[in-house]
């Protein structure tokens, strides 16, 4: 797995939400969950051609999808924030990959800090680290995803795994990965995964 650059804590709503098919009316984009920036408040530059495609898919659909059918606004996408997940860096990496002359299969990873506007308590911090992995190739299946996750967790010493259907705006199918915690004597969520929507 090759490491992806994640050297920007500050991200535009475009890369953090819109390019990942998270609708502009989604509650996670609220003031409560995301750190929005006062200064710099807006991203000066967004990729022109790609932005137009994202707008179309949200408002009208595309690539086989019905879309969300709402009015997509550019100002909303320009809003700067502190990234809420490293998937925004994955989106950038995949966009770069898409613009290559010839497609080559890749495996990317990153481990870096993310920010969520939460009150601090025993199980929540406002900033924490996420480990992210992406595999891009032809003919990948859900079985492959499960296999890769199994190997990853085995290396960490976690062997009892179960997968549960979940929902992410940008992946379908999505799975939450659960592992049995001997100390707590129950299944706890150790990860989230999915196959990116076409």
């Amino acid at each position: 797995f090759t490491e992806m650059p994640t050297d920007n804590f500050v991200e535009s709503s475009f890369w953090n939400f819109d390019a990942l098919f998270q609708p502009q009316q989604h509650p996670a984009r609220d003031q409560h969950d995301t750190f929005f920036l006062q200064d710099p408040a807006e991203a000066p530059e967004l990729p022109a051609g790609y932005t137009a495609k994202v707008k179309k898919v949200h408002s009208q659909g595309g690539y086989g999808s019905q879309g969300y059918k709402y009015e997509w606004r550019l100002e909303e996408a320009r809003k700067n924030l502190l990234r809420t997940h490293t998937t925004s860096a994955s989106a950038r990496a995949l966009h770069r990959l898409a613009r290559q002359e010839k497609f080559s299969p890749v495996k990317y990873f990153s481990i870096d800090r993310v920010f969520r506007n939460e009150s601090l308590d025993a199980t929540h911090l406002a900033e924490f680290h996420q480990v992210e992995g992406v595999v891009a190739d032809r003919g990948l299946t859900l079985g492959h995803l499960m296999g890769t996750l199994r190997q990853f967790f085995t290396k960490l010493g976690i062997t009892q795994l179960r997968f549960k259907p979940a929902y992410n705006p940008y992946t379908e199918p999505s799975m939450e990965v659960f592992s049995y915690h001997e100390g707590l004597k129950k299944w706890v969520e150790v990860g989230n995964s999915g196959i990116f929507r076409p």
Binding site: Q25, P27, K107, E118, T141, P173
Partner: protein, 569 residues
Amino acid sequence: DEEFNELCFEFGLELDEITSEKDIISKEKGEEKAKGASDTILYKIDVPANRYDLLCLEGLVRGLQVFKERINLPRYEKIIPALGEGQRLIITEETVRVRPHAVAAVLRNITFTKERYDSFIDLQEKLHQNICRRRALVAIGTHDLDTISGPFTYTAKAPSSIKFKPLNQSQEYTASQIMDLYRTDSHLRHYLHLIENKPLYPVIYDSNGVVLSMPPIINGDHTKISVNTRNVFIECTGTDITKAKIVLDIIVTMFSEYCEKPFSVETTEVVYPNGKTHIYPELAYRKEKVKSELINKKIGISETPSSLAKLLTRMCLKSHVIGNGNNIEIEIPPTRADIIHACDIVEDAAIAYGYNNIQMTIPKTYTIANQLPINKLTELLRLDLAAAGFTEALTFALCSQEDIADKLGMDISATKAVRIANPKTAEFQVARTTLLPGLLKTIAANRKMPLPLKLFEISDIVVKDPNTDVGARNYRHFCAVYYNKSPGFEIIHGLLDRVMQLLEVPPNEENGYTIKATEGSAFFPGRCAEIFAKGQSVGKLGVLHPDVITKFELTMPCSALEINIQPFV
């Protein structure tokens, strides 16, 4: 209980907690108050955000029963009343500027019991919170049809000319009075701002001038439904027509089960300002064709087309094999507004198959692994710095404005810091532009540890940069502090020399590094130097100024070093 947990897990629901009313009250108010409360077991279930059809007991049970193949998915029918007999909702022009869209439907001859009534109200609240985005996008109103007579008019009027008795109140109020009345109401005050400052407020009247509701705030008391209501008029108004239609479809499909003719909904005609009419609810059934091969390939299984069709039918997506046997035609019911792409269908097929039944395989992708150079450098440095006797710290990237400016004797505008618009506390106002405050705060929190305290951190700082596409960028900094009874400038200097040695940067002017005496606001005058390497200034080192030390609540002298390591990659 175990069985139910398993079922939820397989289906994609999370069984959060198994409790009872008695337990809940016990936990919140103590055992005494809980005496006499119900002991019946309550399940708290987490429903995914895109499944509006599972938000009420009726929908959840229906979904699970179809999943277990105990019942067939009911077919939702529209009953279009004879000409002149159906209800009509007329929308006037005035609504365009405040809340333009409205849809409506009728549930005929419905039988409520206390549980069904509670569930009905509960579903509306859940939908309001969820897809309606706290009533901003759509607001739902339900009314006892027998207390009013159509046709109904949805219009917008000045606040002073709207007067009615709101739900559960004993007298009439004008709209402006209603705003004041609910300003302190813990539930409704959050919605007042949606229409408060508009010149006209939305309002729905019947043909006799009785107010049905003033969306999105409150319904009228006159039309309130009770357990004895037999005919319900439902209206959804809002700013997003797609969502209004979805919300209406969900409510009627869920509760039409209790109508005399189960799963049948009476339509209403909505008349637009331009004269066009539309029949609601749409209750549209959509047909999609998917290749069975596609489903098998995406999941990594190999099921026959007919077994795939059976799996999908279990997920409320009625399917059958068509054509020459390779394609599956799927009928998407109005309850599944979340199916917007073939991949949604693939996911449902996988869920029905059982995620944990899928064979795990490793993709045959050959790639060469690589670490980012900056991270590789960071990892190497960290090990050697620990070997030099310094302890690593990991601190927050967000801090208060004082931390990076006033406490270091600088002005905030000179720092080019990135500011946060909505911090929850003063501790998270800006993103750090230097690692120093974090380390000093760490020392302050660890005063009881034996001296000397030698800490370091290699991590990102953030500054504004108009040249990037978002307006800011990260720099990887390395910072070390030495805290002891004597400042130990020579120790910090020695650390710098060691780091440069590790980075293979020789200590000379032409192609290496040098230090030049300078002044720094955070440093003791005469004990500060700037470090130059690779043709630029990369940082400073020195003894910290006593003011800085006091402001961070420390008592001993401290020397520090901070450099940007990006040029050394």
